[in-house]
Symmetry: C2
Subunit: 204 residues, 2 copies
């Protein structure tokens, strides 16, 4: 398969989210114009992005939303459910462990970890906090490939290294630090300050 630019890949989940929103509202077809308005992307861009993966729309009748949703879920490999481990049960990790929004988007948290003896064994939602010392073994045995890293910046690299040893291939990093990772491991960073600074650049 030809290599698709990551900038295009990055837009697909946004299209998918908007399409599912339309579906939930009872809509069955849409156009690149309408979808574009929803996600602030030009209709031409949407057509160009989707055309990388096949022919999904018909001239004049637009896109069948259900079909396009199914296709995007296949393309993004979320036509299955991925187990996810959450490491670090501070405020953010805690919020994530209790968040119910992952289930219908391809993910389910199945393990949560912390290294604080006062937290280990505690229940959060349906989970019991496990000791980070057992992280590598537990994650490897469970075959978990995705982790959300919610530990303090000072511990993030060390824990990320453990995750890689455990076979994790994708890390959603909430620690405000850039992780050094082997090329085989993907990282997406969630740092609210960086989101804010991208906007203040444009403000007076």
């Amino acid at each position: 398969m030809k290599e698709i630019p990551d900038i295009i890949v990055s837009r697909l989940p946004v299209y998918l989210r908007a399409l599912r929103h339309m579906l939930a509202q009872g809509k069955q077809t849409t156009s690149s114009q309408e979808l574009g308005e929803q996600v602030s992307v030009s209709a031409a861009q949407i057509r160009k992005d989707l055309s990388q993966f096949g022919e999904f729309g018909k001239q004049g009748t637009g896109y069948n939303i259900g079909f396009l949703v199914d296709k995007l879920r296949e393309i993004l490999h979320i036509d299955r459910v991925w187990d996810v481990a959450v490491i670090g049960m501070g405020d953010i990790g805690h919020a994530i462990a209790r968040y119910h929004g992952f289930a219908d988007r391809g993910f389910r948290v199945t393990r949560i970890f912390d290294n604080d003896p006062a937290k280990i064994g505690q229940q959060i939602g349906e989970f019991v906090i496990q000791d980070t010392a057992q992280l590598t073994e537990t994650i490897r045995q469970a075959g978990i490939k995705i982790a959300m890293l919610c530990v303090p910046a000072t511990q993030a690299q060390a824990v990320a290294d453990q995750l890689v040893k455990a076979g994790v291939q994708a890390i959603l990093n909430y620690a405000p630090i850039s992780l050094g990772m082997p090329e085989s491991v993907r990282v997406q960073n969630i740092d609210p300050s960086i989101g804010l600074q991208r906007m203040t650049y444009y403000m007076e």
Copy 2:
């Protein structure tokens, strides 16, 4: 001033974060190679990005980190502190209101809101939860230009519209929905499922 592509702007906060990390470790100078390794960007790209804003490094001696940090803070308009309102005191809003990582990155939360009568008046950290009904007036009077939106998806657009009326120019949107906003208002979205889906695309 010439217009800088947003993709370049988006990398500046990441450079800044890494440079401040170096500074905290006692380093005084760095190179585009070293910085590039920290942030997984090529040295050539870093030189090209920074050259859009002036001459910050010297051939052979590299960058003075403190100087470059100051310049980036100026460029990103965070050589001041921006007041921020947080709307929605669920788990995520709660975590943000208690988060201490904004202070030295140009932001401080000064107001928090919720529409739940059971929550209004409650104390979270140093703040008292205010009624969302007073949001527009309070934010306008306080001159707050930045908000973090942590309400459920179903309420997000309506609250965002209120924020715009209140004069907010930048919204960090945690609700898993695309907001329709006037062009004068910037939005950055934080949706962990989208971060995860950008990675599962590459996984088998």
